[in-house]
Symmetry: C2
């Protein structure tokens, strides 16, 4: 499996289908370009599907990757790590934020525990099928994962993508869950972009000024500790990542390798997308940014990926929730491309 | 009917329901405020309904108000006025832009001809039930409507709102249709805000620099011709408006007076909302801005109304299409308010 993850190249979406979609939009009974970004979005869907008209994205799924992060023991979050398992139960029970938004927008939610600090014997075994370890190393002091753990998590994410796609998924979303994960995301973004921690570190779920300074210093220390190894995306995940992050990277590249588009959520997903693009160049062509989060690192990462968020609601919940909110936009784009008459048919 | 339109005051949405919704959001199992603008939006729906939790907005309707505008005979548009009836047939036939977007988002579309330059004997009579006249006066030369025609159109819009609400509509959208209507909108916005035509005049469906200068000059001339009468909203509609605009104003105030919220589309709807607020103070509390259009006047008008658009897709189609795109956002807000567990229920 890991051989597939690390070596199968990502193909480009179809230029021909993209061009056909643009031409179809241009021929519709409306002013040229009057649907704005919706026309670009529809053409992207056509390109990913390699066909115009594209089929509607009926089957959209969020996979939530859950994990704890050793660095969270060092006071970087507004919440204690005991919140992570409570959030797992919330999603498993269907009463979390992403559950409500997904139900309203006809999106399916699954959750996998890749590295939560406790186990879940009382939840369905499927949730723990890909668990790599409990928590991860505190990145300012030690590596988050061994290289073998990274590869195991990458392979898990790839397999999850393969299974979801085989089961009919047409658009995938990676959701995140785990206290401390905006610290990991900031470290990965700073390392991926080569910018200082201060440029990418934000308040996560709502920390104060002093905690923000502490969080920034820890990230700076983690990047300094990792040194030159961060040039390699697998080593970057080992030094600064976590099992949930590595699995999501494998999931994103796995979708791209199989020609299935991905809608990114907030800062966590975007940090993973940066690593995914380094691991499997060309992945970014299969991505859209679902929403603009309030984390400063997300904007920098989106600029690098060349992505513009579809919605901007100042959300910072995680779980894939912002991307779920954007799903109707993508479906609307397809509906407009497929549903508006051609001018030539009317005259 | 016109007595009701002009004299029944607009009540304020419920502060108690708004506060209850905010408290409910704050008590949910998520970081405080993590759903950002979605929480504010949900509280607005609760306030409009006067209850928390609010019921989901299953029944959402776009009413497209169609009309021609005498000023369009003077070269202000990229399209000839013959396009207006073609667009009416497009919506009546269900293959227009708003038709496709509405179908994808479970929104109903109706169309009324208030002032198209031709009649539609081959379409259902309902479409013409409220027709005020054919076209309107060229506003740089003469009044658009008589005062009686304005009152007839206001009453028509009010009656349409009353009928839709009686039939179950929970959220209303006013759509626009008619060549030349961004000229009328710019004139109404400039007159309502007291700003120069150049500040609010845009390219509509895509005019060139020379046509833009001509369009701006015509609007300036129209406002100068109208003089002090524009201080009165009914006179403003007579001097610078059109039957489709006046009907939409009656529709918006009619919804607000009956306690039903309205989602505004682009520059046309926002120009109507400014007049509606002057005609029936308090109306704006019942409004949300569906999308940011590419027309410069829309941003100024939204600032005055205190509204922030829900989506920004650089759309300029009209027909209510941008507001329809935002409908899933409003439903998502309600779903999140109603679907996420309270922290107190989990602990």
């Amino acid at each position: 499996m890991i051989q597939y993850v690390l070596s199968t190249p990502v193909q480009a979406p179809s230029n021909a289908a993209y061009a056909a979609a643009r031409a179809h939009s241009d021929g519709q009974a409306k002013p040229l370009g009057a649907l704005g970004d919706l026309e670009t979005l529809a053409a992207w869907v056509a390109a990913c599907q390699g066909q115009c008209p594209p089929v509607q994205l009926e089957d959209v799924r969020v996979i939530v990757f859950a994990g704890d992060h050793g660095v969270a023991q060092d006071g970087v979050s507004a919440y204690p790590t005991e919140i992570t398992p409570a959030m797992v139960y919330g999603i498993a029970g269907g009463h979390a934020g992403v559950s409500a938004l997904a139900a309203a927008n006809d999106v399916r939610v699954s959750i996998y525990d890749l590295g939560v600090a406790v186990d879940f014997p009382d939840l369905p075994a499927e949730i723990s099928r890909f668990k790599v370890r409990q928590s991860s190393g505190a990145i300012h002091l030690t590596d988050a994962l061994t290289r073998e753990e990274v590869e195991q998590a990458l392979a898990a994410g790839d397999q999850i993508a393969a299974e979801q796609i085989a089961d009919g998924a047409q658009l995938l979303i990676s959701g995140d869950l785990g206290i401390g994960n905006t610290t990991i995301a900031a470290a990965l973004i700073a390392a991926s972009l080569g910018v200082p921690a201060a440029a990418v570190t934000g308040r996560g779920t709502g920390i104060d000024e002093g905690t923000l300074a502490h969080k920034t210093a820890l990230i700076e220390a983690a990047i300094a500790r990792a040194g030159d190894r961060i040039a390699d995306p697998t080593e970057r995940l080992a030094a600064l990542g976590a099992a949930d992050f590595a699995a999501a990277v494998g999931f994103i590249t796995g979708a791209a390798r199989r020609g299935v588009p991905v809608l990114l959520d907030g800062v966590i997903a975007v940090s993973e997308a940066l690593v995914a693009e380094d691991l499997a160049p060309g992945t970014k062509a299969w991505l859209q940014a679902g929403h603009r989060s309030t984390e400063p690192g997300q904007a920098l990462a989106l600029d690098r990926l060349g992505l513009k968020p579809l919605v901007d609601f100042s959300m910072r919940l995680g779980e894939g929730s912002g991307a779920v909110l954007a799903v109707p936009m993508v479906r609307s784009a397809v509906a407009a491309l497929n549903g508006i008459a051609q001018l030539s048919d009317l005259t």
